[in-house]
């Protein structure tokens, strides 16, 4: 199998699994309890918090562990909006956010908030100037992702955070796809809230973190016990948190060399596909991107059909669109970049990772070339 869907999820790495194991049976205690096994768990929890904090240049007290990247996004957005009660009624976000942010904003809109969804240019970038122009006296939060999951395009976060700072508005960024692929440091980015998730960096699924800059007011979304300083109730998932910290540390340690290696493989993939297949378009390729992601539209063929061909050859990739319930819904990200329904429907996302070799990429190029040739031979639409 050649797995090229690392933006969807990654396998747990051996050292992460090893780090997690003691906390299922040996040190299984509840971190809130008094006795020794619990103290071991609590120590591991706090050590993990320190590790994760260090990875993003934060202080340990600024890290809250959650049940996923999705939950961190929910906590950031709902938590800030709730802390403002009736005062503020306006949130600025982009039209290319992950559903975790998008649907949360949709929900707030239902509850009476005004949401501005900023457009992106043809390269998939939000303009800091648009952010500035959208701010009103009632704006309480700006939430713009660091890197997009479908295209890998990196947003001008420093410039946007400068605007937010200037106007004293809380700024959240979903850095789930950026963390572990490019340097992510909260002070350099200038953000108040930042989401990360373990399973995109060879950690376990079902654990995330939210960075909350000291002094940022946020109300809990999940209430209950006093875990995570009352910001996120629920007995901490110690094995997962320990695994997350290990995964984060490894990813950040190897980021330099690994990002260069993966970028080379991605470039090889894109150059060869451009050379060997006509009428392809690499979405967002002229913008700065995280090194592992490639979104490619193959004119006149359907993305899911490409995926099934590749799947039968043991290659795992993904599409932004899914043909289900009525007419296929093309990716909102690619549509926001101005792609036609058909261009968006013909897009495939390849996202590379640690286990991929040059040979994997070469085999993929050949498989893609054959697949496109075959599907174009059947297609009623001229490429």
């Amino acid at each position: 199998m050649i797995y090229l869907d690392h933006n969807a999820t990654t396998p747990v790495s051996p050292e992460v699994l090893r780090a997690m194991m003691p906390f299922f049976q040996d040190s299984f205690g509840n971190a809130s309890s008094f006795y020794r096994p619990a103290r071991t768990a609590r120590a591991a929890l706090e050590a993990s918090r320190e590790k994760v904090a260090r990875c993003i240049g934060a202080a340990p007290q600024e890290i809250v562990f959650t049940g996923s990247g999705t939950e961190s996004d929910n906590l950031a957005i709902r938590g800030v909006c709730r802390s403002f009660k009736g005062e503020g009624r306006h949130v600025i976000t982009s039209s290319i956010e992950h559903h975790a942010v998008m649907k949360t904003c949709d929900d707030l809109e239902q509850q009476g908030f005004t949401i501005t969804r900023l457009p992106v240019d043809s390269l998939g970038r939000v303009s800091p100037d648009d952010v500035r122009k959208s701010i009103t006296p009632r704006t309480v939060l700006i939430s713009i992702m660091t890197a997009n999951n479908e295209t890998g395009v990196i947003q001008p976060i420093e410039a946007i955070s400068a605007v937010a700072r200037e106007r004293g508005i809380v700024f959240h960024t979903d850095a789930v796809q950026a963390f572990g692929k490019i340097p992510v440091k909260v002070d350099e980015l200038g953000v108040d809230l930042l989401t990360i998730s373990a399973h995109k960096v060879y950690g376990p699924k079902g654990v995330g973190a939210l960075y909350i800059r000291k002094g940022t007011t946020i109300a809990p979304v999940i209430t209950g016990g006093k875990h995570e300083r009352g910001i996120r109730a629920g007995t901490e998932n110690i094995p997962a948190i320990v695994g997350f910290a290990q995964a984060a540390e490894t990813a950040v340690q190897h980021l330099g060399e690994e990002s260069v290696r993966v970028a080379k493989l991605r470039d090889l993939l894109e150059t060869a596909i451009r050379e060997k297949i006509e009428n392809v378009q690499i979405n967002g390729s002229d913008a700065p991107r995280v090194p592992n992601t490639s979104s490619i539209s193959f004119a006149s063929v359907d993305g899911e059909s490409i995926l099934l061909h590749l799947d039968l050859r043991g290659i795992c990739a993904s599409t932004g669109s899914a043909c289900a319930t009525g007419s296929p819904q093309p990716s909102h990200v690619l549509s926001a970049m101005g792609l036609s329904h058909m261009q968006a429907q013909s897009a495939i996302r390849f996202s590379l990772g640690r286990e991929n070799s040059r040979e994997d990429v070469e085999r993929t190029i050949e498989a893609v070339r054959e697949t496109i040739e075959k599907l174009r031979g059947i297609s009623s639409v001229q490429a």
Binding site: S305, D311, L312, R313, C323, G326, P328, M342, I378, S380
Partner: protein
Amino acid sequence: MNEKKPDTELYDDPSDEDQETQPAQGPVLFYNDLVVDHFMNPRNVGEMPADEASGYALVGDPSCGDEMKLWIRVASDRIVDIRFKSFGCPGAIATSSMATTLALGKTLEEAAVLTDDDVIEALGGIPEDKKHCSLLGINALQKAINDYQLKKMMQHTEETDDLS
């Protein structure tokens, strides 16, 4: 006709055996083997030159997700040749292929009563949320038959006009 086995042996995953017992395993099992076969090796693909085609239909709209072009050649009220091209998801391609397979060799009367359910049944079922994709093949077939009949009628009128 090409009755090749599905291309699943290309799947070089050593865990192949236990895939049978894991129903929710992505697109391959999501579509059954026969659907995958018709997708990988669609029957009757191609175009027919205008002077050979007795009827033609274009259905769907690529800007809405799928499109199909279908040609039939009719002799003695029977579909003796059929060709299609289509743009769409695996479900659309497989059902287009099966629709042409069912129609080939049938009389116009027999072909005209084929339904989407006949296509789905012949394929051994397709996933519920893909059923809308299966409308294309039968739709195109009915339209191509209508096109043929309309042309014949007009020819007939022209001929009778000539006589008068």
